[in-house]
Every structure is written in C-alpha cells, then in structure tokens.
C-alpha cells in the first residue's frame, strides 16, 4: 500500500506571555492510502495541534514547529514555503472543523464557498465549477443542489451544514482529509449519518482520513488504526482491534472504561485528576499522577516504546519485565 503521510518526531511549541507550552512532544505516525487513522485523547492533549501542523496552519507566532518532519507523498511539508503550502491546502490535504455552525462564512452563499477553492487552484470555467459543486452536493446527500447553492449558511440545519463543509473539503479531490471532531457538535442521530457519509466517500474516492476525536464511539465505527495521545505524546497506537480488545496503557484502559457500553454491567469509571501542565511537562510518564499502577520509575524516566505486535505499540513501564514481576507478586499476595 502506498504510504501517503509519514510524521516523524514532530515537536510543536506555543510561546505565550506565561511561558512556552510544549503542545506536541515528539510524535511519530504514518498513514496509508485509503486508510482511516483516528487520533484520540482529551482536549489539550495535542491532537488538534498535530493536525494543524500537518496543514501548516499553526498561527506563527505564537506557535512553531520546532522539530521533526511531515513527509506527504514523499515531500517534506515542514520545508515548504507558505506559497507552496497554499497549493497543497484544499487540493491535496483538506480539513473539516468541529462546529459546522461557525465553519461557514455567514455572509457568503454556499455556492461561493464551495466553488472558491476550485476556482483558486484549478483552471476551470464558471459553468464547470458549478457542475462540480452540484456533483459534490449530490455526493454528500443534499437534495435540490442547484437551488441550495444560492442560499446562505443560516438556511441550513447543523447536519446539512456539516455535509456542506465536507463537500467543500472534498471538491478538489484531496488525497488526505483531516476531520477535527467532525461530529462532536451534532445530535447523535445526525452523527451516525455523517459517519456513514465518511465511509461512503472513502469507498468512492479512496481518500485517506485522519479523524481527530475524543469520542471512542466514533472511532469504533470508522477507524482502521488508532493513536492515543496524552500530554503531547503518543502513548499507545494500534489497530482498532488492538486498542479496543487489548489496550495496554492504563490511560487507554481508563478511556475505554469511561465510555458507556450497552453490554457491560460495570459502572462507568471516569479517570480522576487532570492532565499535567504543558508549560513544564514532567520528565517521566505524564500520566503518572493519575495512573492507578504508577511506579517509582514512572516519575523519573519516560518509558521505552514497546512493540507488542507489528501494529501495536505502547509507551509504558508496565511492559518492562521487572514491572510484570511486580504485578505477579501483587496477584499472589491477594
């Protein structure tokens, strides 16, 4: 399979008057064509910053990619000029935002907003652009597209607006679609429809998707692989099966326990505490303070990345032989 994106050792910082926030601290992942990768984590864990970094849409200042590479189709985007980057945005990589209510410009018609990306990047006549726009509206399931192109955002419901946002993102046939919490602001029934739409689109266009979310329910539906982020680092990654059935990191386990499930009788267990302050991130594992299995070592040294299988990788000291012995001893005691 063709590797479409390779992110290595990505570091992003934000300089504010209160100090420097290390928002992303050495992130590595990759994405193949036609694949859906989910990045999961609490708010502030660096997942949105990562996706904005791929688009090179981090406001600078205060934000900055301080280290690492973003290889998209063999080219390193971190070395691109802003002008070169503009030719990538919307054409090769597109983005969808969380709140469809605010993602559309209230003063421009849907048609204008749909077609402007197309007109910007492709040599195309007005009639062709319109035809493409109508096609896209059809694809995302908006009835009566000819008429509706003339309307303004406020004349559409939330779900419809998100469909339009998706149509805008896809109109130039991108290779990669980054969806930042695409269903969070929507009703549950609409959420399901939008997720359905993602699958349909992927089948038809073969686009790769990076899905940013804190909602594991969404992930379960459409992701192929999952990355779990915590405090600016990827603490576990694996296939959907790996993460849902054999989560190794206590944080991942905690996340899964805090999701309501129909089949489980146990009560929900929220993860106690709050993530660490990223002004001065801990030198050890950032989850230590909240971890039910915290050991002395966790505070002192960041854990080794353990490869559990070809697809499954976790950063946790519990994978160390000595920790396993400690666990076993505990089990014997009780």
């Amino acid at each position: 399979m063709e590797r479409i994106l390779e992110v290595t050792d990505l570091h992003v910082t934000f300089t504010t008057y209160g100090g420097t926030v290390q928002a992303v601290r050495g992130v590595n992942f990759h994405l193949d064509r036609g694949e859906t990768l989910a990045i999961v984590g609490e708010s502030g864990c660096g997942k949105s910053v990562t996706s904005n970094a791929i688009m090179r849409l981090i406001p600078d200042p205060p934000g900055k990619i301080t280290k690492g590479n973003i290889i998209f189709k063999g080219q390193d985007l971190t070395a691109y000029s802003e002008k070169k980057m503009r030719a990538i945005r919307g054409v090769d990589i597109s983005m969808i935002f969380q709140d469809p209510m605010t993602a559309l410009n209230p003063t421009l018609t849907i048609g204008t907003q749909l077609m402007e990306g197309l007109k910007e990047h492709k040599k195309i006549t007005g009639a062709q652009a319109k035809q493409k726009a109508v096609e896209m509206m059809d694809l995302v399931g908006i009835p009566n597209p000819e008429e509706r192109l003339k309307q303004y955002p406020h004349q559409f419901s939330g779900g419809m607006r998100q469909r339009i946002v998706i149509a805008i993102a896809l109109i130039c046939d991108p290779d990669l679609l980054i969806a930042d919490e695409p269903t969070t602001a929507l009703d549950v029934t609409i959420q399901a429809q939008i997720l359905e739409l993602f699958s349909t689109i992927q089948e038809r266009t073969g686009v790769s998707i990076i899905l940013i979310t804190h909602d594991l329910g969404v992930v379960a539906k459409i992701a192929d692989r999952i990355i779990v982020m915590y405090a600016g680092k990827i603490i576990e990654s694996g296939s959907k099966r790996d993460i849902f059935y054999r989560p190794e990191h206590p944080y991942t386990q905690g996340l899964l326990n805090s999701v309501p499930r129909l089949d489980a009788k146990e009560e929900l267990k929220p993860i106690a505490g709050t993530p660490p302050d990223l002004f001065s991130p801990p030198k050890g594992c950032p989850f230590t303070a909240r971890c039910p299995f915290a050991m002395e070592v966790c505070d002192k040294v960041y854990p080794v990345s353990e490869r559990i299988s070809d697809s499954h990788q976790v950063d946790c000291w519990l994978q160390d032989e000595r920790a396993k012995r400690l666990m076993a001893a505990e089990v014997l005691q009780t």
Partner: protein
C-alpha cells in the same frame, strides 16, 4: 526502523535501577487538587487590570485628579473668580503656577474648580444613566415577552434621536445650569446602558441558578438585585467608564457653543472657550491647561475602560 530517540530510550531502560520498580505511594488528595490557585472573578479581574500599564496610568491619573479637585483650590491663595486686571495674562510663575487669564484670574485655581465640575457632571450623569438603565434594562430583559417588546420599541425610538441635538434643545429651553446640563445629558443617555443590561440579563436569565431561585418563588426584584446584577456587573462598569468621558466631552462641547455652565462656575470647557484667541496672541497657557486636562481625563477614562473591558471579559479568561 526505530528512530534515534527510541534507541536512546532502549539504552536507558537497561540502566533504570531495579528498585524503581515499586508501587508509588498514592496521595488521593493530591490527585484531586487543582493545579492553579483559584481566584474569585473580581480578584482575577483586578490582577489582570494591574498588569495593564496604560489602564493603571489612567487610574492613577484619575485618583490624583480627584484628590486635586478636592484639595487643589484650598492649596491656592487665590479666589476662583477674583478678577485683577493688572495681573492679566501672567505667564506661569512661582506666584501663578499655571499663569493667569484675560481677567487676571489664577488658572491653577480655576483648573481644579473645572476638575470638580467635569468630574461631578461625568460621575452624576453616569450614575443616573446606570440607575435608569439597570431598572429599565433589567425589567425589560427579565420580564421578556410583551413588556420587553414595548420597552425595547421605546428604546429604539429614543436611540434614533440625535443625542447632542436633544441636549442642545433642552438647554435652550431650560437655560444652562449644572442641574439642567446633567438632566439634558441623562434624558436620553441611559438608553445605551439599558440595552447592555438587557442583553446581559437575557444571557444570564436561563442559567440554572436563576431558574432555581425562581422555582423557590423568589420575587422578581430580589432575583434581579441578588442574582442578575452581580453577574452583569462587568459590562455595566465598562459602559460606565465610557459614559463619563462622553459626559465630560459633552459639557465642554456645550460650553463651547455657549450653552455651558455659567459664571461663577469655572468649567474646563468654559476656560478653553474663553481662551481660544489666546494662543494666537501667544498666551498659550490659558488654553493649554484646560485643554490638557480635558484631553488627559478623557484619555485616562478611555484607557481605564479598555483595561477593564479586557480584565472583565470572561471570554478571555484562561
């Protein structure tokens, strides 16, 4: 395919001493502790205001000005309206710190009297605006429905009236004096405040805690006074700091077109108006001091208002 970093980690893993692999003592309380000390809304706002250098400059200037308005005339040996033609147009000196004007009156003394008038007009006008605005806006926003509709239509009509023209008209009829100026300034001035209060009340009205007190049968006025007002206080204060300079400006403007405060009072507007010709003849100080104090007072209120707005805006809280 491991990166350099991972290799480093791998090396360090072997170096980690065995004894570190023991359970950490858990401290339940620490877990729940919030990382930053929690400050009340007002403490937080004050902290941010103090950081704003311009706003603090404005605040300090206004405090000093208020003090001087109170004690300034006492410090000076001269009567505010004592005319003395031999002393006409004295430049600033040890006897007359700010010089004297065309009638030989001491500009220093008159400046602080002017401060009294300007601050008094500004504060009282703002206070009346706030009172009417809160009552009108509070009732309108809280009651909603028909009451709100009618009250808002009235506001819309009043808002359409050209403010200074109405003020001029009223002063022409009532005759200019301290009382009528304040009356004229407030008669349509409260409209802006009422709009702001109503907007705030509408926003807060449906919060849980308001619904709770309502369900206990608390009286309307009590709810407005105890719950809605404290929450709407930020924007009200900001609006007030911006009302005061506009009242001060209006007073100076009215003096200028001959509808200002009349003798024996000395206001900055009157002083500036009296000495317009003075700069052409070289007696710059007669215009400079009132002009400087009008401008700097307005400047001080404006930067303080800006600072308060930033400090009190919960949207910016982090």
């Amino acid at each position: 395919m491991k990166s350099k970093k991972e290799i480093e980690y791998t090396q360090s893993a072997a170096n980690v001493p065995d004894e570190w692999f023991s359970w950490k003592e858990r401290d339940k309380e620490k877990l729940e502790q919030v990382s930053r000390p929690s400050l009340s809304y007002w403490q937080d706002a004050w902290r941010r205001l103090v950081k704003n250098k311009m706003a603090m400059l404005g605040l300090i200037f206004l405090v000093l000005l208020t003090i001087m308005a109170i004690i300034g005339p006492i410090l000076s040996p001269y009567e505010v309206n004592r005319q003395s033609l031999p002393d006409q147009y004295q430049p600033p000196s040890m006897e007359h710190w700010f010089g004297t004007d065309n009638a030989g009156r001491d500009v220093f003394t008159r400046t602080w009297y002017g401060a009294r008038i300007s601050l008094f007009v500004g504060f009282i006008a703002a206070l009346i605006d706030v009172t009417i605005g809160i009552i009108w806006g509070g009732i309108s926003g809280y009651k909603g429905g028909r009451t709100d509709n009618i009250m808002m239509r009235i506001i819309e009509v009043l808002y359409g009236l050209p403010y200074l023209l109405v003020v001029i008209l009223l002063l022409v009829v009532l005759g200019p004096s301290l009382g009528t100026i304040i009356l004229a300034l407030t008669i349509t001035g409260w409209v802006g405040m009422a709009r702001i209060v109503r907007g705030q009340v509408l926003q807060i009205k449906n919060y849980e805690f308001i619904l709770a007190s309502k369900s206990f049968g608390t009286k309307t006025f009590r709810i407005i006074r105890k719950n809605l007002l404290p929450n709407a206080m930020g924007p009200i204060i900001v609006q007030m700091t911006l009302t005061i300079p506009s009242a001060i400006f209006a007073e100076a403007f009215l003096s200028f077109i001959g509808l200002g405060i009349q003798a024996p009072f000395a206001s900055w507007g009157v002083m500036a108006n009296d000495s317009l010709g003075a700069i052409l003849s070289g007696n710059w100080w007669t215009l400079f001091f009132p002009a400087f104090f009008i401008s700097f007072t307005m400047f001080a209120f404006n930067v303080l208002g800006d600072g308060l707005q930033d400090a009190l805006d919960p949207k910016l809280r982090k």
